[in-house]
Symmetry: C2
Subunit: 408 residues, 2 copies
């Protein structure tokens, strides 16, 4: 059929362009972003009528802004320059290997790059993404799809008797899975505003696992990414609630009949009866970011014999509940049930209890309180501190490091 298709292509291309209006100037496509060999990146936008075009992205200088929770970092906007053809552009400094996100602002309106189809949703809005990669093994490489064996990604529906509903989750099976060997399982949890798609989009979990397994740094494992919003069956648009607007409050938009930690055994039961898994505590790990770190904290203290490896990534551990005056330390020192549960967990001696957080994370203090409590009790844990705040850049690093510490 190959030779017979040219005319056809010509016609359809015309047709498709009519509605979709690709980013084209003077008959040729506009290249944006263009990642140069030295790591600098050129952004371009054709906007001949615009008065002001700006760019923002997580590679630009951050400024501190005041928030209800104290100072937080925010990326600045930089002005782009227009050439005589109406093409606005901006060239960055040399960027280090990483996955970055950005968007434009045209006369005050936020605008996705029409030349770049790669974008990720974060809660209710999108930003374009690109990767700077220099050499094998750097972060850009780890987050890219490379010429290595690839694992499969499954969106499966499991039964949760505890939550009384069918629920959707994402299951990664490593390359070679079909050979039938049983595998250990990592349960990888998302944060508030996320869902079962978060770790395989902004989290790049599939690429990270493929690349680390191929390099021999991580042993082949199944990675299970459930939905942590216990009142939802699935990600927005993927269940019968319809095409609703995603919300940061999704996990408590309506009352769920049980918590994520209560319902966790439903997930383990499904996975171990549907996949080739190694059974038992020593073959299970759990970790999560932010709210998912909170879920990992809560699930492991509720079921101390379920997981041998625990990872708290920028974990949302607010033991004082809605009272901001109660610190975690005060709660830990005054709540005998909490004290007993945590004691029970560490009596069960998880092989790894790993806490990681960025120095600028607004959850730093609550995690510090928790660590001080563990120190005072003499409970064994590992601690990792990175730069930056409550951001995906850190969570990808934490997954990369945590995965290398488990099942070995």
């Amino acid at each position: 059929m190959k030779k017979t298709i040219n005319l056809f292509v010509c016609a359809i291309f015309y047709f498709a362009n009519g509605f979709t209006q690709e980013a084209v100037f003077g008959g040729r496509s506009i290249l944006s972003p263009e990642v140069n060999m030295d790591g600098s990146v050129i952004f371009r936008l054709y906007a001949p009528k615009a008065i002001k075009v700006e760019l923002t992205g997580d590679f630009l200088t951050n400024v501190n802004v005041q928030t209800p929770m104290g100072e937080m970092e925010q990326a600045i906007f930089v002005e782009m320059k227009e050439d005589k053809n109406g093409i606005w552009s901006y060239t960055t400094e040399k960027l280090s290997p990483e996955l970055y996100s950005y968007k434009f602002r045209v006369d005050g309106m936020d605008y996705l790059d029409p030349s770049n189809v790669y974008m990720c949703r974060d809660i209710a809005s999108y930003a374009n993404i690109f990767i700077v990669k220099k050499e094998s093994g750097d972060k850009g490489y780890l987050y890219s799809v490379n010429e290595v064996p690839h694992g499969d990604v499954n969106k499966v529906w499991y039964d949760s008797p505890t939550l009384k509903m069918k629920r959707r989750m994402t299951v990664y099976t490593p390359a070679g899975y079909d050979k039938g060997t049983p595998y250990p399982v990592l349960y990888l949890l998302h944060g508030a505003g996320g869902d079962e798609n978060a770790w395989i989009t902004l989290g790049r979990a599939v690429q990270i696992m493929d690349n680390l397994i191929a390099s021999g740094k991580v042993i082949p494992m199944i990675v299970v990414m459930p939905n942590g919003n216990t009142n939802s069956q699935a990600a927005p648009g993927e269940w019968s609630k319809g095409m609703y607007r995603p919300s940061f409050m999704e996990h408590e938009a309506s009352k769920a009949i049980a918590s994520m930690d209560e319902s966790f055994p439903d997930i383990v039961t499904y996975i171990e009866s549907h996949y080739h898994t190694l059974k038992g505590k020593e073959n299970r790990a759990i970790c999560g970011l932010s709210m998912g770190g909170g879920h990992s904290f809560a699930t492991t203290k509720r079921y101390p014999d379920m997981f041998n490896y625990v990872g708290l990534f920028s974990a949302a551990i607010f033991l004082g509940g809605n009272d901001p005056k109660k610190t975690n330390m005060e709660m830990l020192e005054s709540d005998p049930i909490l004290e007993k549960e945590i004691a029970g967990l560490f009596e069960a001696a998880p092989k790894l209890y790993w806490i990681a957080i960025g120095k600028k994370d607004f959850l730093y203090k609550s995690n510090e309180d928790y660590r001080k409590y563990l120190d005072a009790k003499g409970y064994n844990y590992e601690y990792m501190e990175t730069d930056g705040g409550h951001i995906w850049r850190n969570w990808r690093i934490y997954l990369t490091l945590f995965a290398q510490k488990i099942f070995q």
Copy 2:
């Protein structure tokens, strides 16, 4: 953990909003699109500095435009009206149940709706989507996720010895698949510019199959959606070529070592060795849209004993190759190899050979030529003609109808 999360949510919401800038006016979200009970739809965009805001969508009046292939339909742009708060809006007529797509144009720049996170990529650009649904069984219902049992969706990597590469495809397994019963298999192929994701995004194949199976109109089956671009391993961004710009010419951007039809047995071999499948011709169906219709045509004449059910949806059958002067009829009447292959296919007597096309499709004439040839030879086929042209709206209907005709 539930009670402990409010303060946290508050902080993160602030943080997230800083970068992502959701569509918010006066502290509340802007609702767009708003689908009313009567099927009319209100679109809204907050753009206080804009001079002109337009809307286009496939629900608006189409006009005929001249193209290299003759007249084609194109959706018009309508002007939106601004209120005193800078919110532009437009209300449609009552729309019939369907999945629709749209976008805005702000002072000449195409703009996605920041209030609607639901969008689909078509080749290299995006449009927002929404569904109008009135009652159970209508098209809007069929294309929605409803409260019915859901099948799983798997992105798997299979080996293609013919193309000498690992390749990615999408596999739908129906609800209840884990019970272990063997299933028949439908191979569902995309068009030029598409990939293994096309049928589960704009094609709504998962929802169509879930809903038809739940209603008892279609028997449970596995649906396999391979990638028809034989020089690609996977969809853009999903293989080692990096985050390249998708192209309509993807399937012939570089020379592949074999054609899709030659390599098709690699797919069948993988599926039948990895899934619970019923074997043999009577348990296999193949269909595809446009280029995928061409692939279905070519694969079944190459392997007449492989499939019992064949569906050509707006099929790209250009037997005259690059010479537009040669009609299909001329080719069919003058090419003894072609004549012999088609004779071989119909001697093998497929239970269903189903041709469907829209009256305004630019491929209408080439399909008509092919039908005349089949008529003249007395070969048995079914024919379905619909309104409209070379559009997803038709292909979703064809899948809905074809799926009800197979394996019964």
